[in-house]
Chain length 396, copies 2
């Protein structure tokens, strides 16, 4: 087992109707008075959440400022705008209401509000984050787990970069998780969210030294995604399906699935971020397309990693060793089950279906090497630039 | 899935040699200067840990006060003594070095140091805890998980009571977990620790509505106990075995294994606490004796709970449904595997081997009904006083 430090101080409030009265109580208990309410395209106005949040903030005696229109793949321009509002109005709490994009942008806003300079500085060098405003989140989609981690991903459209921002100061203080808020998530976003969640856990699963506690947790989360995503699609207001997906996704990025294992460098995320920085495709869909190609590439390059692929087949997809004539056949059936599962959700068969071409692949691989959180030498199976391009080519 | 709130703010520092330099750094970062060092019978002086801790505290510029001799099944008299020292010397940090007893007593000391009155008041009514000194722990045994929860168990020898104390204020601030510190744990305590850990997870497993994430985590933890306890006994300095047991045990009581499930009332712990309050037997051993009797009683009283017993047999003990002619036979094999496992560790076949008689069983059942954290009406299978006595009788 590997050494680690772990600190995950966000208070989680989970359940049906968990915002009413509790949001105002948590704010009052901490004495906040000036709130920047951040959200995306306005779906929260259609489903009643906006009104509920406003009434809670009013009950807590807060002055309310709003930043709406935060984009999918949130842009640093929105972060700078939010930080300017915080400075101008003396905001003492940021309340993010939405999905991963809104929460990620809001974390960057919390940091940039306490920094003299452009927010992109803090993306490029997280050690420059010396203070941050407190953040509450109300998460409306089972996907990124941003409600329970201290990082986000910000896109700079000028430089074609999509990079993580992170700091121990960026844990949300309180995150509210009401599964019923995800009833109205469109099917395509439900799929993308589950694919993102699955990728977070796969990133922690395909490591050289996997802690057995982490393995149990990850396999349970993957089984939940496989079982309950189709249920949520068939019956969008199925509380149990939505709740199980939401809770699993919440644990996808806070570190607990990695503790005791060899470090993961989140390679699939690294590759997908490059693609969506160039083409603005939906993150979760990109991950679902790349994942099986990446897994097949690793096994091809280094067959000694086969045992984890057996676990994938048996412990996640419930296949039985006895039903296959060889371990290779079992592994192939597991990978096929994963591909079939993604296809059953309507994930396109390749990136080319989303308008992606190969022209920037070499540049993407080069960019990963210089800008990602760690070198691909520390990948499950170490990868060269050429290897990254191969995986991207096969994902087309 | 059930609603929940979750807040688990302890910083964990895990790994070989994790105390050196890091203990002093964590203290200096928080500016503490007067430390009450608490420990038990002095084993920490034999294995070098005491000297290491003293040198770290000295490096952090701390004045050191000591409370030694904290008992197994720690007594409220020790708590009162520690609290008096804190008040007398203006202690600003309590550092518990030892196992569950030392950590539990130290939590109570942290609370009682900020209270005018006897510590037992705070056991009887946790809402009286309005403030508490900060606590660091250095855990030396894989067992209670007290290093990562906000509760403890205190014994009042005068009233023959062993009761929990808890408060949101009692989370340790930082807990250090070096698996090599558990190399010198005697075999019987290694066994008792694993049995305690297993019971914590079983308490969260045998509930009506088990969250699938919790199920995955719990089954992994039980498999770790079953696999690595014998390894640690055969080879006490096996780092991997000790590390896996220590990390699993750390997650046993912080709540994560319960999130989303129906609430557990920790019934096996309730019953065992009664026995050890009267007879001062080793907690983990008492749990291991009572557990299979309790599980068999539940199944007998309400056969509809059988599916979880199938999970126990298949997911924890790795038995295959196809190898048994009926589900009943599979369940019986799972329960037998559990009993055989405890026996293989040297757990006595019954409480009578530890000097326990039946004379106080009725009083114990009555005491549980009035003093435990919740009524046995909310047990996995609701239990009357007579049912509790039946389980105790069968455990003799």
């Amino acid at each position: 087992m590997q050494a680690f430090e772990y600190y995950s101080p966000t208070k989680l409030v989970f359940g049906l109707g968990c915002i009413k009265d509790k949001l105002s109580a948590e704010i009052k208990a901490r004495g906040y008075h000036k709130v920047l309410l951040t959200y995306g395209g306005g779906s929260i106005k259609r489903n009643g959440l906006y009104d509920l949040v406003k009434s809670e903030l009013t009950a807590a005696g807060c002055a309310i400022f709003e930043l709406s229109g935060i984009e999918p793949n949130p842009r640093v321009t929105s972060v700078d705008a939010g930080a300017a509002m915080c400075k101008e109005h003396g905001i003492d709490l940021v309340l993010a209401v939405g999905g991963g994009s809104t929460m990620d942008a809001s974390k960057a806003i919390c940091a940039a509000a306490c920094y003299n300079g452009p927010a992109w500085d803090l993306v490029l060098d997280g050690s420059k984050i010396k203070a941050a405003l407190p953040l509450f989140t109300i998460n409306t989609i089972a996907a990124t787990g941003s409600e329970y981690d201290n990082a986000g991903v910000i896109t700079n459209w000028d430089t074609k970069e999509k990079l993580p921002i992170g700091s121990p100061l960026l844990w949300p203080q309180v995150s509210f998780l009401d599964p019923s808020l995800t009833y109205t998530v469109p099917a395509i976003q439900t799929v993308a969210g589950s694919c993102d969640m699955m990728s977070h856990f796969f990133e922690a699963y395909f490591v050289r030294d996997l802690s057995p506690i982490a393995q149990g947790l990850i396999e349970a989360a993957e089984r939940i995604a496989i079982t309950y995503t189709p249920k949520a699609l068939q019956e969008p207001t199925n509380y149990e399906a939505r709740a199980k997906l939401l809770w699993a996704s919440t644990l996808g990025c806070n570190g607990i699935a990695c503790l005791g294992s060899s470090a993961t460098i989140f390679p699939c995320h690294a590759i997908e971020h490059e693609v969506s920085a160039y083409y603005d495709i939906t993150h979760g869909i990109g991950l679902a397309i790349i994942t099986p190609r990446l897994l097949r590439f690793w096994l091809e390059k280094d067959p000694t990693v086969a045992p984890r692929y057996v676990d994938l087949a048996t412990n996640i997809f419930g296949l039985r060793r006895d039903d296959y004539e060889s371990e290779e056949a079992l592994i192939e059936a597991g990978l096929k089950a994963l591909e079939d599962f993604y296809a059953s959700l309507g994930v396109p068969s390749g990136l080319s279906k989303l308008g992606v071409g190969s022209e920037h692949f070499a540049a993407m691989a080069e960019h990963i090497k210089t800008h990602w959180i760690a070198s691909f030498d520390y990948c499950y199976v170490p990868m060269t630039n050429e290897d990254i391009v191969t995986v991207l080519d096969r994902s087309l």
